[in-house]
Amino acid sequence: MFIIESVITEECNLGCTYCYMHNNPTTMEMPTFQILLDKLNILQDLYHFDEYHLDYFGGEPLLNFKLIEQTVPLLKQDNRCKSFSIISNLLELDDYKIDFIKSNNITVSFSFDGLWNEYNRPLRSGKSSLSLYEKKKDIIKQIAGKHCKTMVSPTSLGTLVANIKYLVSDWGLTSPDLTIVRDDIWTDDDVEHFREEIRDVSNLQIEYIKDNKPVMIGFYQLYLLDMFIGYKYNKRDTGCFAGKKGMAYMPNGICYPCARFGTNREYPIYDLVNGIIYKDNYNMFIDYKFHNPKFFDDCLNCVYYQGCNAGCTYSQMKNDNRPIKNVCKLFDILYNESFYVFNQLKYNKQFIGMLTSKLKEI
């Protein structure tokens, strides 16, 4: 399904060290969002889609909650909109917002780094966001569910196991979706540290399942599913949705391949406000293959070619259209560890049942 990242504000209450958004002081107004809906048929023609999913994206989208309130009824009336969700750190939650989110059955994707919030995700004031999370835990848990998106960067090394235990035990987040930051920030030493530490994480995953705890750390599920899907349906056409199967709609009313391109104001695709198409950029993301891992020399010879989706398109374009060497090394480690966990647990009904049910959802 076509994905629209609607960046309703670029401002954020946090200053995450690894974040690619620039905290530009721009916020979307209702008329700009209305233009998206009014001119969606143009995008439908360009990208040949009938249905779409919309993410309220930021910055921190809850900082522009008024727009969410105004636009959710419109999305519900739009037959083309099959689902929508809010990607949020949830620190702006209050009872009023919770009521609105619950009463409208809005899906929320909770971005939370657990213990790493202490130094990776300071508040704009420079203070720790971890203590604020602790204060707001009860209110956040009302809608956070069991899932959170947790970014792993070199500063996470040394505390991977401790943080997963914190997410699972203290917050009840049994599906911590750990994801490595796929930028060129990992040194050779970092990669080796990661290699040394990840086996402890794998053993923790095994221990949880053997203790009948329904915990699935995102690393393992994602990499096993990627391989299965790659071999079943063939390699994906593109590494990610950017500019081909989705786009970002920015507060200035211009569509970009994704929010990362948008916040950098690079490769605009369509200015919906002024009706200007940037045809070269559009063609580049639709047709060209330079930034597609299917054609990267390094990928063509890789043993994981069939299932791996490589890294971030933006990062790779900045890397002369090549995958980032140390990110590939991390992928190699993670594929190996995923198979290690799989081999230890494949005859465990709970584990294999979780994998199978996830595959059926896809």
């Binding site: 096993l224 391989m227 299965f228 071999y231 079943k232 063939n234 390699k235 063609n283 047709d287 060209y288 293959k289 330079f290 299917k294 054609f295 020399d297 063509l300 010879n301 043993v303 994981y304 070619y305 069939q306 299932g307 594929y335 198979f339 799989f342 081999n343 494949k346 005859y347 009904k349 294999i352 049942g353 994998l355 199978t356 595959l359 059926k360 896809i362």
Partner: protein
């Protein structure tokens, strides 16, 4: 049937040539302002891209990168099928790694 390594080598080479040609066409597109020639470049770019895609598909087919899972209905997937196929995938990757080590 040619040895798989020879097929892989030739396909890889062919794709590399296509990518290089696309880069050259991209250069022409960026530097030649003649509109009629631009149209020709775009046509050639389109055709050569299709050739690249087909070559990759042919590679999947000939080199046997793909494990045939076509008989599996994802909606009715059984746990044992998932185990069997992930085992096959692991085996395939292991063999490839060994081949690459030998080649070095």
């Amino acid at each position: 049937m040619l040895d798989k390594q020879i097929i892989t080598f030739n396909l890889f080479n062919a794709v590399e040539h296509i990518v290089e040609s696309m880069k050259f066409l991209d250069f022409l597109l960026a530097n030649d302002n003649d509109e009629s020639r631009q149209e020709v470049y775009k046509d050639v770019m389109y055709n050569i891209r299709i050739s690249g895609e087909r070559l990759c598909d042919l590679g999947d087919f000939l080199v046997g990168n793909k494990i045939d899972l076509s008989n599996i209905d994802i909606g009715k997937l059984q746990d044992q099928q998932v185990i069997d196929y992930i085992d096959k995938i692991q085996e395939r990757i292991k063999v490839k790694k060994e081949q690459q080590t030998e080649d070095k």
